[in-house]
C-alpha cells in the first residue's frame, strides 16, 4: 500500500499542494488531470525522483520519504518510455538485473515469461530504435517488471500511440494487471482511459487533488465544478423503467423520457450523458427520430467559445453544449422550444 500524507513539492513556479492519498495493495489507480496539473510530479514523488518539501510517503508501512529510488522497488515507465538507445531490447530488459544475486537460469526464465506475456519474444535481438510505439511500450513494461517491483508507475503510457494501438494496449494493460496483480499507478489526461482501467480515480488540477473515488463516485457526485467540468459535466439521469428492444438495444425511461441505448447486458439504474453528446436544434432536423426530444430552454451560460444551455426535457433538466455562433444563428434564447438529439454512442451506463 502507498500512503501519501500532506506531501508538498515545489518545482520552479509549480507547487504540488498537500497531497493526501492512499493507494491499496494490488489496486489499479489512475491519476487524472489536465496537462500541467502535477500528475507526473506525484509519480516522481512516489518513485523518489523529486525532492519533497513537506509530508511523508509510506510504502507497505515503511517510511520511504527519504529513501533513494533504487531502494524503493518501484518500477517507472515514463511517457516516452526512455529505452536506452545504446542497448538492444534484451539488454534493455536485463538492465535492472545486473549485479543482482540471481541464477542465470532464473533470470532467463523470468525474461522469457515476461517476453511471452507481453508478446515481445521475437523482438529480443532488435535494436530499440527500430521498434514501433506499441513495441517500445511493451519493452519498457518488460524492463520495468523484470525486477519484480512492488509498485508500477505508468506516466501517460498510451498518449504517444495511435488510436487503435492505444485501444488495444488499454485492454492489454488490464490483462497484465489481472495476471500480475501488481499495484499500478497510471497517470493520464484521458478520461476514457481512466474509466476503462481504474479501480479508483484521483482527479488533480493545478497541483491540488480535487477528488478521489471510484468511477461511479466521480461521475455521480463530482465534488466541485472543477471536477465536473474536467469530466465533461455529465448529465446523470435515474432510470425508472428499462426494457429490452432486441437487436442489442434497450429502452431506459428516465424522468419520463424514453432513451434508447446499447444493451451492455447489465441493469441500467443511472445513465450519464455528456453535454457535448447532445445536439441542439431550433427546428426538427431531418433523419431518424431516435433519441430525439423536445425541450424548453431554461437558462443559457457562456462556456469559453461555447454556450451551455439548461433544457427541460420531461422531468429532467439537461445541460447541453453548442457553439455560440450556431446558437445565435438559430436565434435560440431562454424560453424557446428546441429539439435535442442524444448521440447513442455518448450514452454511458453508470
Amino acid at each position: 500500500m502507498i500512503e501519501i500524507r500532506d506531501v508538498q513539492v515545489r518545482l520552479g513556479k509549480f507547487t504540488l499542494r498537500d497531497i493526501n492519498l492512499k493507494i491499496r495493495e494490488g489496486e489499479y489507480f489512475v491519476i487524472l488531470g489536465p496537462t500541467g496539473a502535477g500528475k507526473t510530479v506525484i509519480l516522481e514523488a512516489i518513485a523518489g525522483l523529486c525532492r519533497i518539501r513537506r509530508g511523508k510517503i509510506q510504502i507497505n508501512g515503511e517510511d520511504a520519504t527519504n529513501m533513494p529510488p533504487e531502494r524503493r522497488r518501484i518500477a517507472y515507465v515514463p511517457q516516452d518510455y526512455a529505452l536506452f538507445p545504446f542497448l538492444n531490447v534484451l539488454e534493455n530488459i536485463r538492465f535492472g538485473l545486473k549485479g543482482k544475486k540471481q541464477a542465470d537460469a532464473d533470470v532467463d526464465r523470468r525474461i522469457d515469461h515476461l517476453a511471452h506475456l507481453l508478446g515481445i519474444s521475437h523482438l529480443l535481438e532488435r535494436h530499440v530504435g527500430n521498434l514501433s510505439g506499441g513495441e517500445k511500450q511493451r519493452v519498457a513494461l518488460a524492463r520495468a517488471l523484470v525486477t519484480s517491483p512492488r509498485i508500477l508507475l505508468l506516466d501517460e503510457p498510451l498518449s504517444n500511440l495511435d488510436i487503435s494501438t492505444a485501444k488495444y494496449l488499454r485492454l492489454e494493460l488490464e490483462r497484465f494487471h489481472q495476471e500480475l496483480g501488481i499495484t499500478t499507478v497510471h497517470v493520464t489526461h484521458n478520461l476514457m482511459e481512466a474509466e476503462e482501467l481504474a479501480d479508483r480515480i484521483a482527479i488533480i488540477s493545478a497541483g491540488k487533488l480535487e477528488q478521489v473515488g471510484t468511477r461511479e463516485d466521480i461521475f455521480l457526485s463530482p465534488c466541485n465544478e472543477t471536477v465536473s467540468n474536467f469530466i465533461g459535466a455529465p448529465n446523470i439521469l435515474s432510470c425508472e423503467k428499462c426494457s429490452d428492444l432486441g437487436h442489442g438495444l434497450i429502452e431506459a425511461v428516465c424522468g419520463g423520457v424514453p432513451i434508447i441505448l446499447p444493451n451492455e447486458g447489465r441493469e441500467v439504474r443511472k445513465i450519464a450523458l455528456f453535454p457535448r453528446d447532445i445536439y441542439v436544434s431550433a427546428i426538427n432536423p431531418p433523419g431518424p427520430s431516435l433519441n430525439r426530444f423536445r425541450g424548453l430552454v431554461m437558462k443559457i451560460e457562456p462556456f469559453s467559445s461555447l454556450a451551455r444551455l439548461k433544457v427541460k426535457v420531461g422531468d429532467n433538466v439537461l445541460l447541453a453544449e453548442m457553439p455560440k455562433s450556431a446558437m445565435e444563428e438559430m436565434a435560440i434564447d431562454v424560453g424557446r422550444e428546441v429539439y435535442l438529439i442524444f448521440k447513442i454512442r455518448g450514452i454511458r451506463i453508470v
Partner: protein, 271 residues
C-alpha cells in the same frame, strides 16, 4: 495585382537565395584560395623533402604527444566538471560558468603570460623547484595547451550532458542504480558520441595552440618547437618552404580530425 505580388515574392526569394549562397561561395573561395596559394609558392620536390625532414618529424611528434597529454588531462577533469555544472544546482553557478568561459575568450598570449607570472611568484617557484619545471620546458607546453583547451572541453561536454533527457537517468535509478552507477551505466554511454567529439575538437585545438605555448615554453629548437612554433620560427628566418610544409601538415591533421568528427556526428543512436 495578386499575380504581381506573387511574382515579387518569387523574385524576393531568388535574391535572398543568391545573397546567402553567394556569401557561402565567397567564404569557401576565400579559404580554398588561401590554402591553394601555398602550393603556388613552392615546388613539390622541395615540399616533400621538407615534409620528411627530421625537424618537421620532431615538431609533429612533440605537438601530437603534448596535445594528447593535454587532452587526456582536460577530459579526465572535464567530464566530472562538465557533469557537475550541467546537473548540479548551486549558488553562484553563473559565476562558475563565467570563470569557465574566460579562457575561451581571453587571448592565449594573455593566458600564457599569466602562467609565466604565476611561476614567478613563491607558489609557482616552489612548484618549479620541488615538483616539475614548466617554464621553457616541455611540461610547459602541456600546461599552456591545457590552460587554453580545458575550458573549451568542459563547455563542449556540458552541452553533451545538457542534451541528455533526465528521464534516462531517472529510469536507471528506479531500475536499481545508485547515482554513481547511473552515471557510468546510463549517462556516459548516452554521452559517448558527444564526448568523443569533444575530445577530438579539444585535441585539434591543442595541436594548433601557439600563443600560450610560446609565452610559457618559449621557442627553442627542437626542445619546445611544436608545429605552430615551427611556422613562427620558419617565418622569422624567412624559410618560407619550411613554413609552408608545416602549415600543410597542420591543415592535414586538422582536416583528419574534422573528418573523424563528421563520421561520429553521423553515427548517433537510431532512437
Amino acid at each position: 495585382m495578386h499575380t504581381s505580388r506573387v511574382y515579387k515574392g518569387i523574385r524576393g526569394e531568388g535574391v535572398f537565395r543568391a545573397a546567402t549562397v553567394g556569401a557561402l561561395a565567397l567564404l569557401c573561395l576565400f579559404f580554398t584560395g588561401i590554402l591553394a596559394s601555398l602550393f603556388t609558392y613552392t615546388d613539390w620536390g622541395t615540399l616533400v623533402s621538407t615534409l620528411f625532414s627530421r625537424e618537421i618529424f620532431l615538431a609533429i611528434r612533440l605537438s601530437v604527444v603534448t596535445a594528447t597529454v593535454a587532452t587526456v588531462i582536460s577530459v579526465l577533469i572535464g567530464i566530472p566538471a562538465a557533469y557537475a555544472i550541467s546537473h548540479a544546482e548551486f549558488r553562484g553557478k553563473s559565476v562558475v560558468d563565467t570563470i569557465l568561459d574566460l579562457p575561451i575568450v581571453v587571448s592565449p598570449v594573455a593566458l600564457g603570460a599569466a602562467l609565466l607570472v604565476f611561476f614567478n611568484n613563491p607558489v609557482g617557484m616552489g612548484i618549479e623547484k620541488y615538483f616539475m619545471r614548466f617554464v621553457f620546458e616541455v611540461p610547459g607546453i602541456v600546461l599552456a595547451q591545457f590552460t587554453v583547451v580545458s575550458a573549451l572541453s568542459v563547455r563542449l561536454m556540458k552541452t553533451t550532458f545538457d542534451s541528455i533527457d533526465p528521464r534516462f537517468e531517472q529510469v536507471g535509478r528506479t531500475l536499481g542504480c545508485s547515482k554513481v552507477s547511473v552515471f557510468f551505466r546510463v549517462t556516459l554511454p548516452l554521452a559517448r558520441n558527444g564526448l568523443i567529439a569533444s575530445c577530438i575538437l579539444t585535441w585539434a585545438r591543442a595541436v594548433g595552440e601557439f600563443g600560450a605555448t610560446i609565452t610559457l615554453a618559449g621557442a627553442m629548437k627542437p626542445k619546445t618547437e611544436t608545429l605552430p612554433v615551427a611556422i613562427f620560427l620558419s617565418l622569422s628566418t624567412a624559410d618560407i618552404e619550411k613554413a609552408i610544409a608545416v602549415i600543410i601538415t597542420l591543415v592535414a591533421i586538422s582536416a583528419a580530425a574534422l573528418l573523424v568528427l563528421r563520421k561520429i556526428g553521423k553515427r548517433g543512436f537510431p532512437v
